[in-house]
């Protein structure tokens, strides 16, 4: 146990000496939100590009994961709340300066949208499916008619959702590790990458897997660039941010960050994907699973490590 002696200053439980308010529920929520955003973004993108037939899993099958991921993620978030019965109060106001307000409203729109998207493909994918009520059949016809508009909306909201999962943390200006503008785009990229990995794992089509694999390699490249950029930014900043970076550069999160996030979660799956693109036989689930686990560990590490970082006082 590490003990710390206070001779002056504050002593607020769960705030001092370290923030201790966010546990497993938050990284799970951020992860599932990012995963859902990744799947929805590419479902929307390939719909707009009129590639529904070539990219069937991306557009039609993978989105089936989204409602489940969002509901589970929101449930995890609900479990984290101190005053659970008051969650609805988020929806009594719109505050443009609050990331939580952005997230709450985005989720309020994107969650039902994901259900509608999946429902619009039910009959096509399961020919024996019957909605039973005429009004549902009419609603389905309407959804199919406006599918392209839905795809645009889905892409836009997926970006907002993906960025929000990072901005939720970066808005904490009292936590040096989180307080970087890189985090929003980094979490979005990671979410897109995990979404691609999940879709790739589900796909049976060689062509589709190849396209997704190429996109994923780009995402991994961007992610690595952003992580390096973030660490360099910290090292060039004030003392508290240098200390935050040192958690990953010799500190207590070094091993888990470099082994499970960077090497096994990004570099190694990227190497396997490159080998597969070059014609080597690689079972698709291996890189996909590694990316999915890497994304999850990344969020756990960021949430845990971020709570430890603080301004000196």
């Amino acid at each position: 146990m590490k003990e710390e002696l206070f001779v002056s200053g504050r002593n607020i439980p769960n705030i001092d000496p370290y923030l201790n308010i966010w546990h497993w529920q938050i990284p799970i929520y951020l992860y599932l939100g990012g995963l859902a955003a990744g799947i929805m973004f590419f479902a929307g993108y390939f719909t707009i590009m009129r590639k529904e037939k070539d990219m069937e899993t991306t557009v039609k099958w993978a989105p089936f994961l989204v409602p489940g991921a969002l509901v589970l993620g929101l449930f995890a978030l609900f479990l984290d709340l101190k005053h659970q019965l008051y969650f609805w109060r988020l929806y009594t106001t719109i505050r443009l300066e609050s990331p939580m307000s952005w997230g709450a409203w985005t989720l309020m729109i994107i969650t039902p949208l994901s259900f509608v998207w999946v429902a619009s493909y039910m009959k096509e994918l399961f020919p024996k499916w019957d909605w039973k009520f005429d009004i549902l059949n009419k609603a389905e016809a309407l959804a199919i008619k406006y599918r392209k508009s839905m795809a645009w909306l889905m892409m836009l909201l997926a970006v907002v959702l993906g960025v929000y999962t990072g901005i939720l943390l970066s808005a904490f200006n009292a936590r040096p590790l989180w307080n970087t503008s890189v985090l929003g785009i980094l979490f979005l990229t990671s979410g897109l990458s995990t979404g691609l990995a999940a879709t790739m794992w589900m796909s049976k089509s060689k062509y589709e897997r190849k396209v997704l694999s190429r996109l994923d390699l780009i995402m991994i490249g961007i992610e690595l660039f952003l992580i390096i950029h973030m660490l360099m930014g910290f090292l060039a900043a004030s003392e508290v941010q240098i200390e935050a970076a040192h958690l990953f550069l010799g500190g207590e999160f070094t091993v888990v960050f470099w082994v499970f996030v960077i090497i096994l979660g990004l570099v190694f799956p990227a190497a396997l994907e490159i080998l597969e693109l070059k014609g080597f036989h690689i079972p698709v689930w291996i890189p996909a699973l590694l990316i999915l686990i890497g994304g999850l560990v990344f969020r756990f590490v960021m949430v845990e490590a971020g709570q430890i970082t603080r301004f000196l006082y």
Binding site: M1, V255, V259, L264, F268, A271, L272, L275, G279, F280, H281, I282, P283, I286
Partner: protein, 179 residues
């Protein structure tokens, strides 16, 4: 027919002597980087200690064997270089298998004269004996034989000579499992 692609799918192996040299260099690198040599059974041992420590912490703490491997600072026995070495070995092996065309569907490789079930039973029995033996010898073919002899350990040398010597003798009796 695409001969180039077919070639990539054929399992390939490097020259065993060259492989031996590479293994020696790897051992050297491990000593240089981690300050200790290679190990395989050690990771499994720490896995067992960790499970016992999780289920019955008092028993693990009072047991003279288990307690040796439980860190005094309360951290997990798994937070050890041996575990990360084993993880690296697993993924490194996977990469090698992918590059040399050995990474295929799950399968049990065995002699055509025996069934997969016989192979698995024989492998399980051999593995158990190897695990017990490695604890008698304070290390397996990696920890005692490779790392031990590399650091001029007499015990390591003895383990290596007896392990491979007895292996040659017993291979005759179990040859039908292979040829």
């Amino acid at each position: 027919m695409n001969t180039e692609t077919d070639k990539k799918h054929q399992p390939r192996y490097i020259n065993p002597y060259f492989g031996g040299i590479l293994l020696g260099l790897l051992l050297l690198a491990t000593f240089f980087i981690a300050g200790r040599g290679l190990s395989a059974s050690g990771a499994v041992k720490l896995g067992v200690v960790s499970v016992v420590n999780m289920i019955a912490p008092e028993h693990a703490a009072n047991n003279p064997y288990y307690s040796k491997f439980i860190p005094a600072d309360g951290s997990s026995p798994l937070y050890n270089w041996l575990i990360f070495g084993a993880i690296g070995t697993f993924f490194g092996g996977m990469l090698s298998g992918a590059i040399f065309g050995r990474l295929k569907k799950f399968r049990v490789e065995h002699s055509p004269k025996i069934s997969a079930k016989t192979r698995l039973i024989a492998a399980g029995a051999g593995g158990i004996l190897f695990g017990i033996g490695s604890q008698f010898g304070r290390g397996c073919s990696s920890g005692a034989a490779l790392s031990g002899t590399a650091s001029f350990s007499y015990g390591g040398l003895l383990v290596m000579l007896l392990m491979f010597g007895i292996g040659y003798v017993f291979a005759y009796f179990f040859r039908k499992l292979w040829i």
